[in-house]
Amino acid sequence: MTSLNARAALLSLLLFGLLLGIWHLATMNAGAASLATVAAPAMTPEQIEYARLMGKPVPADAGASTSPVTTKSGFPTLAQMGATVVHHLADPFYDKGPNDKGIGLQLAYSLGRVALGYVLAALVAIPLGFAIGMSPLIHRALDPFIQVLKPISPLAWMPLALYTIKDSAASGIFVIFICSVWPMLINTAFGVAGVRKEWLNVARTLEVRPLRRALEVILPAAAPTILTGMRISMGIAWLVIVAAEMLVGGTGIGYFVWNEWNNLSLPNVVFAILVIGLVGMTLDGLFARAQKAVTYAD
């Protein structure tokens, strides 16, 4: 078992090295190409101006062409990427106005939105899921609505949200709410409806009151299924927040990505992508742990 883990880790490291190697080779060529441009014959002032507008190197900048500043519009080399990572991690929480905030601060904005929308969704979805799971009548009555609303892309709600709520921050939270509500709702209903009849019969013969039955029999019995729904919801919420913040703007990791794209700063974009992935992985890991805690062997 340990040897399997060790071999897997080794293979992962090799793959990582391979990826870095490919990255290095690919960016090396780009660097050579830009050097070739530098060696081009002299340009007219109009051509230089045009080249500057297009983000291409011009003869006047030739001396500085190896510095990160001029090549930042191109795909970064490994060294530039490393410098960017260090730069961001050195001071993650600075705030120098609307378009210049530390990555930690941006993440905190995104996580805050996700948390708020997600908690609201859980507050709605779990009790409603209980009702749907326990009552076949409610299940059948609500099923058509759920089936229609579930496949709608959460971002499609954005215009309506912006119009009705008239607040972009609240609209972002609403979008997170609407995208995380469905998996939680459906899984809760499914888990509650699937609670084994013999456990309910035990509760009946013991004259357990409805609230106690819900909290002490149905909830623990359905908890693994409910947590699966919550985990899926969290995954979707983290996917959607990036897109939502690109639309809404202002703050957050999604806005950061879009802003750095407008700055043509690919190292920052790549760094943000990595951070999004790592945070998503951490969130999923937390839910996996919670899931393990409530799962029972039968």
Binding site: E198, N201, R204, T205, L206, E207, V208, A221, Y296, D298
Partner: protein
């Protein structure tokens, strides 16, 4: 062995049973129909306080439905179940049920499973008092070492014993057992039968139990109710076990009354359980 006349109604039932203790349960004209066809019909019997009654019959004769009706988990199509002078309309703490598949909650330990039942019966008891009651009944089924284990860590026999302890721990007026040992191997079954016999003797518990096992019925029951096959099943005979109540599994088969009774029950199951002479009565 003695074969009781079948009870035709409430009045008759009392008259024909001049036995010792008062009647605890009276079942009158019970019937269950799905669509038009009755599964069973015209089921009448009484249970006396402290009595151990087994019901034997082939699958599909409605034994479990009768037990569930006694428990209040199911409603009969016709007839009444009267426990202690009151009609059964819902499940209640006065009737403990041991389910076929133990029905323990797998996320709770043995202690918590039984405490759940004890707390349902006596909500205002202190934690210490509940725990004392739990330990007492766990000890009764000799599972004290397994108190803090989850059901998944127990064998099938141990789980069923926890189920029995849970039913006993609420000290019900009557215990309903739905084929509790059906899934157990013969050795385990024997041990738990002895245990059950011991506890019943100690607590004078009234028990109504479903079984497929004729030997189990002879060992445990004071009376054995034989049901004819469904649909249209009925209680065909009620056989009184006249062997002394101190009977034991190890020596039971040496009793001269054992084989006649066993043969009678087997003959019934093999040959005479087919229906359907309505309301037959053996003189």
């Amino acid at each position: 062995m003695r074969i009781d006349p079948l009870e035709q109604g409430a009045a008759a039932a009392v008259d024909t049973m001049p036995d010792r203790s008062p009647v605890l349960v009276r079942v009158e004209g019970l019937a269950k129909r799905y669509g038009g066809t009755p599964i069973f019909e015209d089921v009448n019997f009484t249970l006396r306080q402290g009595e151990f009654v087994c019901i034997v019959g082939h699958s599909g004769c409605g034994k479990t439905t009768i037990l569930n009706t006694l428990a209040g988990l199911e409603r009969a199509s016709d007839g009444h179940v009267i426990v202690d002078g009151r009609e059964v309309v819902a499940p209640g703490l006065d009737r403990g049920v041991v389910f076929q598949g133990h029905a323990l909650m797998p996320w709770l330990t043995v202690r918590q499973n039984i405490a759940f039942a004890v707390r349902s019966k006596w909500p205002d008891w202190s934690k210490a008092k509940i725990d004392e009651q739990v330990c007492k009944y766990v000890a009764l089924v000799s599972l004290t070492p397994a108190l803090d284990k989850k059901p998944s860590q127990l064998s099938g026999g141990m789980k069923q014993r926890v189920g029995i302890a849970r039913a006993f721990a609420i000290e019900p007026r009557m215990l309903l057992l739905d084929e509790p040992f059906g899934a157990l191997d013969a050795l385990t079954r024997g041990t738990i039968q002895d245990e059950l016999l011991k506890i019943c003797a100690a607590t004078r518990q009234t028990v109504f139990m479903i079984t497929h096992d004729v030997d189990e019925a002879i060992l445990l029951a004071d009376r054995v109710m034989l049901m004819s096959n469904g649909p249209n099943a009925r209680v065909a005979e009620i056989v009184v076990n006249t062997m002394a109540r101190s009977r034991q599994r190890a020596t039971l088969h040496h009793d001269p009354q054992y084989y006649p009774m066993r043969n009678h029950l087997m003959d019934f199951l093999v040959e005479r359980s087919h229906p359907v002479t309505p309301a037959r009565s053996i003189p």
